[in-house]
């Protein structure tokens, strides 16, 4: 059983309600995949497809900046189970292209010690995957309902006001100021970092600093640190697709900056297209006749994880305190 399964193994009444809440959310419940599933498209397919798109000028908000408002899906495919390219592992981890568009090999350019650390974390996940050490090290921090960095936040709604872009879904909110105000400083650190945006042509460019380095990019231990800086780029490439790009830089653990790139689809405008090998996006809510279909209902994340926490603690997983580079 994967830890993602743990994290939805909620108690009693909460379970029913959480499932309902997922169904109401534009982000569909986790899919299950057969071994013969074709490799799900991600960065490689997307960048090739993107190159064929005609130029597009996004609509503007009343105050004249690109209009990103709407409800958007997450990265699609199997989500952030493993952001590097992989073959079929189990029913929740189908074969999928890498999220990473640069470097071209789709691998995170870890320094040697950092790669060894990632491999050690991965081998201690105890998910019943090939190559595990047999021991237990850390569980995915997402198991504990902690807020997370941009790429793992999943789909949700974007709204805009003069001077800010606001992202929100059933569990997480993020206000990105675009008014030139200074980011958090003074050594203060946040789980989701401090975000400051600016408009460059058709793109929203967001600088993320002051991260505490305690979360992962995915569920298999791909990590960053408290000196990592991220730059996100959000740009509409057609009326219903955002080209999302995030560049990660941290000389203490990576040999060079690296970039993830994938599309976000407007809710209600598409589905996973694994069969045709075009780019992927989430299946969206189909219950059009349900007047509540677009509402985001309470997920009571913290309230529902008692069993998960007891179980992971009892199994001997350690608490992940971030990674410290060797001096």
């Amino acid at each position: 059983m994967s830890h993602r399964s743990f994290s939805v193994a909620l108690k009693g009444a909460t379970l029913v309600l959480s499932v309902l809440a997922l169904a109401r959310s534009p982000v569909a419940a986790q899919a299950r995949f057969a071994p013969a599933t074709p490799k799900l498209p991600m960065a490689r397919t997307w960048t090739a497809y993107k190159a064929t798109l005609p130029p597009y000028r996004p609509p503007r908000t009343p105050d004249g900046v690109p209009d990103l408002r709407g409800v958007w899906g997450g990265p699609g495919g199997a989500g952030g189970d493993d952001i590097e390219e992989h073959e079929y592992v189990d029913s929740t981890t189908p074969p999928q292209e890498s999220f990473i568009s640069d470097p071209p090999d789709g691998k995170i350019p870890y320094t040697p010690w950092a790669l060894a650390t990632r491999n050690e974390i991965r081998a201690g996940l105890a998910r019943g995957w090939p190559g595990e050490s047999g021991g237990r090290l850390y569980a995915d921090p997402a198991s504990y309902c902690v807020t997370t960095i941009g790429p793992r936040g999943g789909g949700g709604e974007i709204t805009q006001q003069p001077g800010r872009v606001i992202l929100m879904n059933a569990r997480i909110h993020r206000v990105i100021r675009t008014d030139g105000s200074p980011p958090l400083g003074g050594g203060a650190q946040l789980w989701r970092g401090s975000s400051r945006g600016r408009w460059e042509g058709d793109s929203l460019v967001v600088s993320v600093t002051s991260l505490n380095g305690r979360h992962w990019f995915d569920s298999v231990g791909n990590f960053y640190s408290d000196s990592t800086r991220m730059v996100e780029r959000w740009r509409l490439v057609d009326a219903n697709t955002i080209d999302y790009e995030i560049t990660i830089e941290d000389p203490t653990i990576y040999t060079r900056p690296w970039t993830m790139n994938y599309p976000l689809r407007r809710a209600g405008t598409g589905g996973t297209d694994a069969a045709t090998g075009k780019y992927a996006w989430r299946t969206t809510v189909t219950a059009d006749r349900d007047p509540y279909a677009r509402e985001m209902w309470e997920t009571t994340c913290n309230e529902g994880i008692g069993h998960t926490v007891e179980e992971l603690h009892g199994l001997g997983f350690k608490w992940f305190k971030g990674v410290t580079p060797p001096r």
Partner: protein, 268 residues
């Protein structure tokens, strides 16, 4: 404030809410009708921005004395003592004695409505055509107050923040909230409710930087009559104010993870 003015402001809207019944003798305070707030693009009063309560209701919604780490405070409840049924008053006192074990604040759960409003953390109001959204710093919680024409969904549903349906009554945002769990309290003093809780919140701008926050509590399983609390909310004036984060569960787990006998990891 003159009683006649208050009644003229809240009277008809209370009738419109329905099901609240009579509010016997509750001393209501409400906003003067003189302030005209700016409007959003949709033409509604603009309540957007970062707000915070500035009182001691998080400790105790009634008058209370100081003790170590707790400032003394005036209550926010209108009128006399809370109208508990006899059994419920006994339970409230038991809650207070066992707060360390029983108050869900200690487990980093969502704390219910209205308690989330007067926790000592800021929250941000975001308005759109179909809803008003409250982004809380506490737990990073998001609460949607829908005004899309949908009624409360049919229960039974037990949510920590309930199901919120909003409408405008003049300059006042009126929020009707039902479908609560019976797990949350009103404060750290053990004041509590059942799953029959029905909350009506009223957010009324009284100036560019102030709102009056009035809450009617109805819970026939616990109280003998509906009652009301009232307090001002203040727009945060700090030039750099923004919603940061209070990731309670992360701090709690980090503190408890390596303790041999933490109650957090015992089956409940």
């Amino acid at each position: 404030m003159a009683r006649w003015l208050v009644l003229s402001v809240i009277g008809p809207s209370m009738l419109a809410i329905g099901s609240l019944g009579a509010m016997p003798g509750a001393a209501q305070s409400s906003a003067p009708a003189t302030y005209t707030p700016p409007r959003t693009v949709d033409g509604h009063p603009d309540l957007q921005g970062v707000w915070q309560a500035l009182n001691t209701a998080a400790w105790d919604i009634e008058d209370h004395n100081a003790r170590l780490g707790v400032p003394a405070g005036r209550g926010v409840v209108e009128g006399g003592p809370l109208p508990y049924q006899p059994w419920a008053l006994a339970k409230k006192q038991e809650n207070a004695r066992n707060r360390a074990a029983l108050d869900l604040e200690g487990r980093c759960h969502l704390l219910g409505v209205p308690r989330m409003t007067y926790m000592p953390y800021p929250f941000q109001v975001v308005q759109q055509q179909d809803k008003v959204t409250i982004l809380y710093e506490y737990l990073g919680a998001v609460r949607y107050l829908y005004m899309n024409g949908n009624p409360h969904p049919k229960g039974p549903i037990e949510w920590y923040l309930g199901d919120s349906r909003a409408r405008w009554d003049g300059n006042t945002l009126v929020v009707d909230v039902v479908h609560f769990t019976d797990q949350t309290w009103f404060d750290r003093a053990g004041n509590f409710h059942s799953d029959a809780l029905h909350v009506v919140e009223r957010y009324t701008p009284t100036g560019p930087d102030h709102m009056r926050y009035e809450v009617t509590i109805e819970d026939p399983k616990v109280f003998t009559r509906p009652w009301t609390m009232s307090m001002p909310l203040y727009r945060r004036q700090d030039t750099q104010v923004e919603i940061l984060e209070y990731e309670c569960m992360a701090y709690l787990l980090e503190q408890e993870w390596d303790k041999a006998d933490s109650p957090l990891f015992r089956p409940q």
